[in-house]
């Protein structure tokens, strides 16, 4: 069986079996799997991503868009320095 890890921007996004990603040993796969299963609990404002050295790095979760329904005219007004609708 082929084991692999998927890396993006310096972080391990996932591990898996099958094609794709960077091939790793079964031992490394099991090590990372155990680390993922013991991931620190996320909060409403903080989650964690797995670095290549297999440590967790906290990061702030983006808050929800306060005004997701901004239309084009309102956006243009903001870009031109006007008041936000």
């Amino acid at each position: 069986m082929r084991y692999c890890k998927i890396i993006d921007s310096g972080y391990i996004i996932a591990i898996g079996t099958g094609e794709g990603g960077v091939e790793i040993t079964e031992s490394e796969y099991n090590t990372i799997l155990d680390i993922i299963h013991n991931k620190p609990a996320a909060t409403d404002t903080t989650d964690y991503r797995l670095k290549l050295d297999l440590t967790w790095e906290p990061y702030e979760i983006d808050p929800p868009d306060p005004d997701p329904d901004l239309d084009d005219a309102e956006a243009l007004d903001i870009l031109l320095g006007g008041d936000e609708a």
């Binding site: 998927i6 996004i13 898996g16 079996t17 099958g18 094609e19 799997l33 991931k39 989650d47 991503r49």
Partner: protein, 228 residues
């Protein structure tokens, strides 16, 4: 276009080992003995053939000094086959379906799931059929999202509570219809697409569903020789 089984007559061939062209000479052996072919393109051989024959030996081959019947074999997938004592191989081209299996465990919640498989140009990639959580704490695999294949049917199920439950308890099911599949860019299109590279990648998206960190999602899909 359907592919009919194709029969290949198997023969021995010789090739050079990197030293330029060589001329292969036929070696005719008519009696027992050891043959050394210095300077020739065949290796020394030792021949031990039976010394007597009968009419029923017609078509037999020599195996360690004995005459034995040739056999045949049926091949259903690409591979290298030992043709010793086999005078023909039948290759069922139309049966060239390749099964791709694998799993993904994400370190963080993801909105999309990527499935990669090996393939070849002009392979028909048909269908991701299953992904499920087999790490359920209650030991009951939960179908979190799946493409159920009767060949053409794709159904996603989502678990709003995120807790363990039997498959049938999943309240929200979105039937994406029949004759659908997931294209390389994640678009739900038809029941097939043609790989144009040496492999393929599915990017499975679902608007209201996250592939959860720590869960292992297994998948199966198949590639077929493309039909014209």
């Amino acid at each position: 276009m359907a592919f009919d089984p194709v029969s290949y007559a198997m023969g021995k061939s010789a090739s050079g080992g990197g030293g330029g062209d060589i001329t292969v000479e036929a070696l005719s052996v008519t009696e027992n003995g050891s043959y050394s072919a210095s300077g020739k393109a065949y290796s020394p051989v030792t021949v031990n053939v039976p010394n007597s024959y009968s009419a029923s030996d017609e078509g037999k081959v020599v195996d360690n000094g004995a005459l034995v019947a040739q056999t045949s074999d049926t091949v259903t997938q690409n591979d290298t086959y030992d043709t010793t004592l086999i005078n023909s191989l039948t290759v069922n081209v139309s049966g060239g379906i390749v099964k791709h299996t694998g799993s993904v465990t994400y370190a963080s919640n993801q909105k999309s799931m990527v499935v990669t498989g090996l393939g070849a140009p002009a392979l028909l990639v048909r269908f991701l059929i299953d992904d499920y959580d087999n790490d359920a704490t209650d030991g009951v695999p939960k179908v979190l999202g799946g493409c159920y294949a009767d060949g053409v049917r794709l159904v996603w199920r989502t678990n709003s509570s995120g807790t363990s439950a039997a498959v049938g308890d999943y309240g929200s099911a979105t039937d994406l219809g029949t004759g659908r599949t997931v294209q390389a860019d994640g678009t739900i299109v038809s029941n097939r697409f043609v790989s144009t590279t040496t492999g393929f990648t599915f990017n499975i998206n679902h608007d209201s569903y996250l592939f959860k960190a720590g869960y292992t999602y297994n998948y199966v899909c198949y590639t077929y020789p493309e039909e014209a």
